[in-house]
């Protein structure tokens, strides 16, 4: 049972050495239940901020978010799971303990914790690594564990903050393919932040292209292709057309972002 997300008129500024740094300017978006969308934009455009606001980790200065039928006032651990970059696993805990601890936070009974953790590890193909510590794993493996941790929480919504950013291109491709299969099976509603054009095209139903800071939604690009997507999608004309469209949309914004950064 998937649920949708709607965000209306979100604006946010950070305090930057006493001056207000506007990162989001009147952003509205809707994600339908079971949809996979990407937030794509240049560095510093506020896409991670937007994700954190949707997930209740951060409170927007203005605007509101609704997940399913509930307004967001803070984290909703039973509805919304997060996947962060690879450094978000607890380094002092084994893979197994990393999965268990989140369930413990939620008050899941201990017998069920083990069952859920076992299943989640199996889903991402990491069953053999339960006793390993994160620093004994490769970057790709850590991300699989991070994904398993979120899956074990059995939330309807999954928010992913550049989950593949620290990985090499080949690992990203493999993980991307596996993710497409896995997520199409779970039917979750997913919002993913990325700055990779290919990743966005390969995984998304729709791509929200954002402007340079302050971030606004510049365009919404649709990728009409059913899930799970196979590797040959990447060499198709459709893939290249969408990617080219995104590139054109993004190019000016990347230049603008670089100009902001240079000041």
């Amino acid at each position: 049972m998937a649920i949708g997300i709607s965000a209306g008129h979100l604006s946010h500024a950070f305090d930057h050495n006493g001056a207000a740094l506007r990162v989001l300017d009147d952003v509205s978006l809707t994600v339908v239940p079971g949809e996979m969308v990407c937030l794509l934009g240049p560095s510093g455009c506020g896409k991670s901020t937007l994700l954190n606001i949707i997930g209740g980790l951060l409170k927007a200065d203005a605007g509101s978010v609704q997940i399913g039928d509930a307004p967001v006032h803070g984290v909703m651990p039973r509805r919304v799971g997060f996947v962060f970059q690879e450094n978000a696993l607890f380094p002092w805990s084994t893979v197994w303990e990393n999965l268990i601890v989140g369930l413990e936070f939620q008050g899941v009974a201990s017998a069920e914790r083990a069952a859920r953790a076992t299943h989640a590890l199996k889903t991402v193909g990491m069953s053999d690594f339960a006793k390993f510590y994160p620093d004994q794993l490769s970057g790709g493996m850590k991300q699989r564990v991070g994904l398993a941790r979120a899956l074990a929480l059995q939330t309807d919504v999954l928010l992913m903050d550049e989950p593949f950013a620290a990985l090499d291109e080949q690992t990203r491709m493999i993980l991307g393919e596996d993710l497409s299969v896995l997520l199409s099976e779970t039917g979750k509603t997913i919002v993913m932040v990325t700055h990779s054009l290919s990743e966005a095209v390969f995984l998304s139903d729709r791509i929200f292209v954002m402007t340079a800071r302050p971030g606004r939604i510049k365009a919404i690009v649709e990728v009409r292709r059913e899930h799970p997507r196979r590797p040959d999608f990447m060499t198709s004309a459709q893939f290249n057309d969408v990617r080219a469209e995104l590139y054109t949309l993004l190019h000016d914004e990347m230049r603008a972002a670089a100009a902001i950064a240079a000041v």
């Binding site: 997930g55 980790l57 997060f82 450094n87 978000a88 002092w92 936070f105 941790r149």
Partner: protein, 254 residues
């Protein structure tokens, strides 16, 4: 800073043992060939003989329990106050901005200059050494506790929050384990500072204790006996270090 356990594999162990054998050999050679007067540095055999005598003396138990008792009280005080102050200062950015530099600058003061004041206030008994030792141990513990708790990766905190951790769970399952290595380093530094300052205090003014005996025998030019006490202190420090290393190795994954 992580400290490796002293004994890791047979090769490093051989080198470590060889180091101590070499020190002993150099000591023995210098004294046996009379390059150094036995009045200043007696040979290993003479010191060993004195250790034997000291261990039979009824005063040894008194001195050890005096020094150790003082140390345990001072260190325990420092651990509790240091952890408490450090943690509270770490909880708000404003506190950290105000009090961290303040504590760091106080730590720069050579506290031993206040020892005569401590004697005036607390007398020549254990209390003046407790004050000295506790102060020397307090600062590294408080400062490292601040550093440990303020440097926790915010991704880890966000991850825990997103999974529904409440404040207690966040502290117990994230903040404490994340801060632990840095806090433990502070406690190790504090341990050494506390022990050294208490011995120094005992050497300056005391009626009992290992430091008192070292100063006393030194002043009476009973140097072999003095080194006997020195050797006991060194052994105690090694024993402690070995114990802590073993504990830390157990906690550290892989």
């Amino acid at each position: 800073m992580t400290v490796q356990p002293l004994v890791r594999d047979s090769r490093s162990r051989t080198i470590q043992i060889a180091f101590f054998v070499l020190v002993l050999a150099a000591w023995w050679t210098m004294t046996a060939t009379h390059h150094i007067s036995p009045l200043f540095l007696p040979g290993p055999a003479a010191v060993a003989q004195q250790i034997g005598r000291i261990s039979h003396a009824p005063t040894l138990a008194v001195d050890i329990s005096y020094t150790l008792g003082t140390f345990v009280v001072a260190y325990t005080l420092a651990v509790f106050t240091g952890l408490a102050v450090g943690y509270v200062v770490s909880t708000r950015r404003f506190f950290t901005r105000v009090y961290e530099p303040l504590l760091a600058s106080l730590y720069a003061i050579p506290i031993v200059v206040f020892f005569p004041t401590f004697i005036l206030f607390f007398g020549t008994g254990p209390n003046s050494k407790i004050a000295l030792g506790a102060l020397y141990a307090f600062f590294p513990i408080a400062l490292n506790t601040i550093a440990g708790f303020t440097q926790v990766d915010r991704h880890l905190i966000a991850a825990a929050r997103s999974m529904g951790a409440n404040d207690t769970q966040l502290l117990r399952r994230v903040l404490v384990p994340a801060a632990f290595p840095i806090v433990a380093t502070g406690m190790r530094i504090a341990f050494i500072a506390c022990f050294a300052s208490i011995l120094a205090g005992e050497m300056i003014a005391s009626d009992h204790g290992l430091g008192h005996q070292i100063a006393q025998t030194g002043q009476m030019m009973d140097i072999a006996r003095m080194f006997g006490y020195v050797a006991l202190v060194v052994l105690a420090a090694f024993a402690f270090n070995f114990g802590v290393s073993a504990l830390e190795a157990q906690r550290r994954p892989a």
